[in-house]
Structure formats: structure tokens, C-alpha cells
């Protein structure tokens, strides 16, 4: 019986792990450049943490289990509610502003497809405290810095921004009631995926007249954000971040499907839409900490996933060439009687902080050991045969230059310190 991995999960062999670690390194670098500190939470939470906060679509596709008291637990489908719970729990003692980031696993029980798996990683980064457009500009500037760090240009990426409060005001002017707001937002969120005719039918089914539909379509193609003082200030602030304005634009069709967003919302897209949906989204969530039982602390944040990021890097030919970390040296073993000598030298090098792997089948032909080092990309091979052992020397082979020389054992560590 060949036991398989669960559908929608991924095995990270050293090659894949190298990419994940590289991405984590970038995320950490960008986060810390802006003064954010790393945190993490549990990966299982009570279902209540997400109900009426995360979107319905997400909630319908979670991995759920029961505890022994029959309470529903879920594998976290996203990190923001956990973040809000943690802040709410310690809100008295935490100095505001709160700038935290995390890079963690999440699960959604949906159909695996290109750029989407059931188990994935998300970079969660949030700024809590300030309730102003300048804070939103910072999160957007971080998104821009992320793309710049990954080597993705403004020709390839656009971050589309909107203001939910502004949108609410605008659709009120069209005569759409408060009760209709949520269904109309949901329809707008679908616009990108359907044809103009289907969109018209959808709006019509939500009770809009032809005149209202026309006005709404006009609103959705608006390029001018000056009627939103919030966005005006935010764009003003963004000017201070180098190249930020090349990446961002106002787009009234962006409303996001997540319930806890209160004001600014945004989505990052690749311009040519090689990736068939948003790379990631974010926004302002001013009530989430109070919704999970704490005091109200306004905040803004975003959550880029590892798989969409990787897919876009691949689509635009920007994937870095990465290899897993290898030791500096493979110490070969000539035969079992010379093994103690090889091991002795191995450990002497390790004390000098040189990473050394030793061959541990004691009767393997030297040729096979060299081939192994080559295959793995280990730069140096050491050989201690009977002659070397007698003369207290070691033969060092550089696998890149194919040069080799025999040197005194005492001089060996210096070879790797250069």
C-alpha cells in the first residue's frame, strides 16, 4: 500500500523548502524595514472566531473538527481573526501602535487549481492603532515594497484601491437602500468574473432599475477619487513613497468579499491577468478586535499568500534560481579502518563552524562518493586514504574547478576560511 499525501497539501522537499525560506526571508526583511515584529498564533481556533467576520464563502470551505465537548474547531482559513483575538486579549497592556507580521499556514477546503491549494502559507501584516489614511498608505507602501523586493515591476503589477464608505455614500445617491448595500457589494465583487450582460442581470435580480444600473456602471468606471477625502489624503501620503504611485490606482470595482473590512479595501493584480484572480487583498478593519470581545482598536492590513506569489513570479519569469543549503564539505570514507580518522577531521572542522557531511557507508567506492557530492552540489570533497593517514595529510578536491591538492591536516581549516 502506497500511502499518499492528502489532496491539496504540498510536500516541501529541500528544493521547495528553499523557495519557502527565500520568500519568508523577503517577507521578514520588508516587514522589519517598516518596524513590524513577528508573532504567530495557533492553527486551530473555535469556529466562533470566524462567524460573521470572515466572509461566508470562506466559512463554507473550512476544515472542521469537533473537540471532546463537541465544540467546533477549524483549521484557520486566514490569520487576521487570530491576530485580532490576540490583540483583544492583551489590549490593556499593549502599547499602540501595534505593528505585527506573521508568515503561517492556513487551510481552505476548496477545489485545488492553479495558484490555489487547500494548505498554503500567508504573510499577515497589520498596523493597529491609528485610524487615518496615512496608516492605510503605509500598508500599501509595504505591498509596493514587497513587489519591488520580488523584482515585479509596475508594468506587471497593479494595486487597485477603493473606499467602502465612499462607495456606500455614492450608491446611496443612486437610491440604493442600506439593506441593498451588502448584496450589491457582493455583486460588484463578482463583476470581474462575469460578462457585462450577466452583471446587468445580476444587478437587476437584486432589484435595481435600468437607470440605477446605468448610474452604478458609471460610478464603477470612475477614475477620480477626489470625492473621497480619505482616499485623497491616502494618495497624498503615498507620494512620499518612492515609485508607489506607479503601482497603485483608484478602482471603484474593488469592494472585497470579507465582512470585517470597514473602509479602505484593495487588491493586487497582475496587469496581464495571467493569474486569473487577485494575488492578494487587504483593507481597513476598525471593528474586528471589538467583534472578538476586546476594546475597539482600528487597524489595517493585508495577507499575501505564498502560492499566488509563486505563480505570478513564474508567469513573469521572475522566479529566483535557488538551491537548498549544502554543507561546504563532503568528507569521504576510504574504508572502515580509516573511518575514525575521517570522523576525527570532520569534527575538527565542525568545531571551526565549517559545515561538513561525512559519508557513512563504510565500504563505498570513492567514485560513488564523489558522484554523490557532485549531484548534491557540495563544493569540496576531502579524502583520507592510507597515504594521507600515514603522512598526516588530507587530499582536498574542488568540485567546481576539478583541482585537487594534498595538504597538511593542520592547515585544513584555513582552506575554508578564505
Amino acid at each position: 500500500m502506497n500511502i499518499k499525501a492528502v489532496k491539496g497539501t504540498r510536500d516541501f522537499y529541500p528544493e521547495q523548502m528553499a523557495f519557502r525560506n527565500w520568500l519568508y526571508g523577503k517577507v521578514k526583511e520588508v516587514s522589519e524595514k517598516f518596524g513590524y515584529q513577528e508573532y504567530d498564533g495557533p492553527e486551530i481556533e473555535y469556529l466562533e472566531l470566524y462567524e460573521n467576520k470572515t466572509g461566508q464563502e470562506i466559512l463554507e470551505g473550512t476544515f472542521t473538527l469537533k473537540d471532546k465537548d463537541n465544540r467546533s474547531l477549524v483549521l484557520r482559513p486566514e490569520l487576521t481573526p487570530t491576530f485580532a483575538r490576540m490583540v483583544a486579549q492583551k489590549s490593556q497592556e499593549l502599547p499602540k501602535q501595534i505593528r505585527w507580521f506573521s508568515f503561517g499556514r492556513a487551510w481552505r477546503y476548496e477545489q485545488p487549481q492553479k495558484g490555489r491549494a487547500r494548505e498554503f502559507f500567508q504573510w499577515e501584516i497589520n498596523l493597529l492603532g491609528p485610524e487615518n489614511p496615512e496608516a492605510d498608505a503605509e500598508i500599501l507602501a509595504i505591498a509596493v515594497e514587497y513587489f519591488k523586493t520580488l523584482g515585479l515591476t509596475p508594468d506587471e503589477i497593479v494595486i487597485r484601491i477603493n473606499d467602502r464608505e465612499f462607495m456606500q455614500d455614492q450608491i446611496k445617491i443612486i437610491g440604493i437602500s442600506n439593506e441593498q448595500t451588502s448584496p450589491i457589494f457582493q455583486a460588484i465583487d463578482k463583476k470581474e468574473k462575469i460578462s457585462p450582460d450577466e452583471f446587468k442581470k445580476l444587478l437587476s435580480s437584486k432589484g435595481l432599475s435600468n437607470e440605477q444600473i446605468e448610474k452604478l456602471n458609471n460610478l464603477l468606471s470612475e477614475k477620480d477619487y477626489s470625492k473621497s477625502p480619505w482616499l485623497t489624503k491616502m494618495f497624498e501620503s503615498l507620494k512620499q513613497y518612492k515609485e508607489a504611485l506607479d503601482y497603485v490606482e483608484f478602482d471603484p470595482t474593488i469592494v472585497r468579499g470579507i465582512d470585517y473590512y470597514t473602509r479602505t479595501v484593495f487588491e493586487a493584480w497582475d496587469r496581464k491577468k495571467k493569474f486569473n484572480r487577485a494575488i492578494f487583498g487587504g483593507g481597513r478593519f476598525d471593528n474586528l478586535t471589538s467583534q472578538v470581545g476586546g476594546e475597539r482598536i482600528p487597524g489595517v492590513g493585508m495577507a499575501p499568500g505564498d502560492i499566488p506569489t509563486q505563480t505570478v513570479l513564474e508567469e513573469y519569469g521572475k522566479m529566483p534560481v535557488l538551491t537548498p543549503n549544502v554543507p561546504t564539505v563532503l568528507m569521504t570514507v576510504f574504508n572502515s579502518s580509516l573511518y575514525p580518522k575521517s570522523l576525527e577531521i570532520t569534527n575538527r572542522l565542525r568545531v571551526e563552524n565549517i559545515n561538513v557531511e561525512i559519508w557513512l557507508d563504510l565500504e563505498t567506492k570513492m567514485e560513488k562518493q564523489l558522484k554523490y557530492a557532485d549531484q548534491k552540489g557540495i563544493p569540496f570533497v576531502l579524502i583520507i586514504g592510507p597515504d594521507e593517514a600515514k603522512n598526516n595529510t588530507v587530499t582536498i578536491k574542488n568540485l567546481k574547478t576539478r583541482e585537487q591538492k594534498t595538504i597538511d591536516i593542520e592547515k585544513l581549516p584555513d582552506e575554508f576560511k578564505k
Copy 2:
């Protein structure tokens, strides 16, 4: 409603995250010193992966869920079976030896207590390929290196080692049948937790005569491993690792409760037993890759957990003093009209790879901003008031020395490059 974390899980605030990252750094350093490469697997697996491999005790305490086809999934209770599955899947193409490590999350649904939680991290490190005592010695040397790196001495730590095959031979001599081996091993595994009388009764209930019990007790107090050629060679090899012999000792009472171990088994304990059970265990598992459907690749490994490690560090006063990473600079904001100037300088520093946090409530008193920087441990504060703005200068305050000076803005980056 105040939504709580799930019982037995942990929130990693930046302070706790600093320890986890420190520990991960140590694990990575030690692993790579011996030439091991990082991998990771999914955190959910099919139940079959563990059945008849992991111990029954572990299997009874897993978090279980069902997929839509009603197959049982578990949150991984340990990492070794996932490792074996991944190796089995690619065994044709992987060059042996395989040296991999991981530092990942696992879950066990058991009563939380000191040094034990339901969600924890494990360092999994395995060497696959060589089927010899020298490979076992390497894993034990890594365990020793781990303790040395953590600052735990041979006066505080002992690694107790046994050979399951040797034990099977020895209890056969006492007249214990093959069928009795497994229940007798389970009884031996419990010995440490019960009184000598209770142990005697337990053995008696498994069908041993008084004479057999006496002989078994003699065997279990044996200090001489020379009857096991395997252990003899392993200890011989360990001599080559500096100080290793100070940490390890032969102990026939160590048999381990996990079903997949085939030969060498070991447990690390603190000598004073301040921690009431093994810190971690490990051993040789020669059949696990074939049990999960691949070719047979013999291996050896271990899996230290984060919580037992932390508990022992605390008990022996060896916890490092750690603080979360903070930015080098807090840029204050004098008022909203000077915010653009502060932001401009902030971004200029970031371009120079200096980590800067900017205060983003635009009307906060300077005193409060300075207090925030102090509280968070940020070393430098920058102030741009009306005078500074006019003269193109900035005031820099060193919060450790309490010194401050006003300098030309152009000279600012150099202040942090020293």
C-alpha cells in the same frame, strides 16, 4: 463575548516568538553543521499513515477530522511518518544518504500539563541510507551538539541508550517468548513511572515467573553493553565526538513506546528529573519507508520538542534573555503639517536598509512618542520640528545614553551605519 484560544494551544506574542525563532536558529545551525537539509510536509495526513507505526498511545490522542469522502484525516501527531512517506514517494531519484531536518508543528489531544501542550513544535532530524552503528552515533552526536549549543551540560543532561535487538535476544535467554516481547517491552517502558513492587506485579500479570522477573531486573540494571556488538561499535564511534561520552550512557530500561523503532533507541533526560519525563527520544527505524509503501531504506533519527526543551532550560536557569527585533529608529511626527517631512526622511533611511518605524497618529504629544520608543526598546528617536524643517536638520536622540544632537539631514544615514 470574549473569544478564547483553544485549550492546549499557544499564542506567540513577539516575546514568545523571539524564543521560538532563537530555538529554530539553533536547530538549523546544528543540523546544517552536520550537513542536513531542511524539508517540511503537510500538517494533515491520512490516518493510515500512522496506523501500526506510531505507538497506540499516540494514535488514541490525535485530533481527527473527516474529508468529504469520509476518509479520516489527522493533524500530524509527529513528523517521522510524513518524512518516511515523502522519501518513499521519491526513493528512486533521491541520492542516498538522505540527511533532512524539519522544525514543524504537531498536535496531540492529551491533557495539557507542565511541559506538554496540545499544539507544539518538533525538530525532526533523520539520516536515511546507512544501516550501521556509525549512523546512530551521528544522530546521538547531534543530540549532544544540541545540548551543548543550548548551554546544557553533561551534569544536567543524560542520553540513555539501548539496543532493542540486543534486548530481544537477552529476554529470549530468560525464556520470554516472541509473543510476550511486545507486552514486556511496554511494561519496561512504564518502569520509570511506577514503584518496583508495581513493576513486579505488572510483569507477573504478563505471565512472568518470580525467577524470570528477578533475571529481568538483573538485565535491566546491567551497565555493560559489550554483549551488543552494535552498541560496542556505536560507543566506539561516539568517542570521536568531543564530550559526547560525557552525555551518553547505556541503559537497558530504555525501550521506547513507538512501534516503528527497530534497533537503537534512546531518550534524553535531565539528570535531576526536574522535568518528569524524557525530554525527547529517538532511534533506528529500518522498515518505516517500506511500511508506507516504498522500498526499504534503513534510517535513524530523533524529534526534540520545543516545550520540553524550554522547560528544561527554565528549570536549569539556562533560558537566554531575548527581546523581539525592534527597528533601529522611531521617527516621530511633530504634527500633521510636518508629517510629510518625517515620512520623507523615514523612506530615505529605509532605502539605506535602516529599519524605521514612523509614528502615525499625527497629533500625539512628543512625550508620549518618546515613551513608546522607550517601552519598545527602540534605540534611536528622530525629531523634525518647525526649526529642524526650516534648517533642513533633524534631532537625533539616543535613548540609551539619553544624548541628543541636531544634525544636517544629509548626514543622517551615516549615523546608523557606524
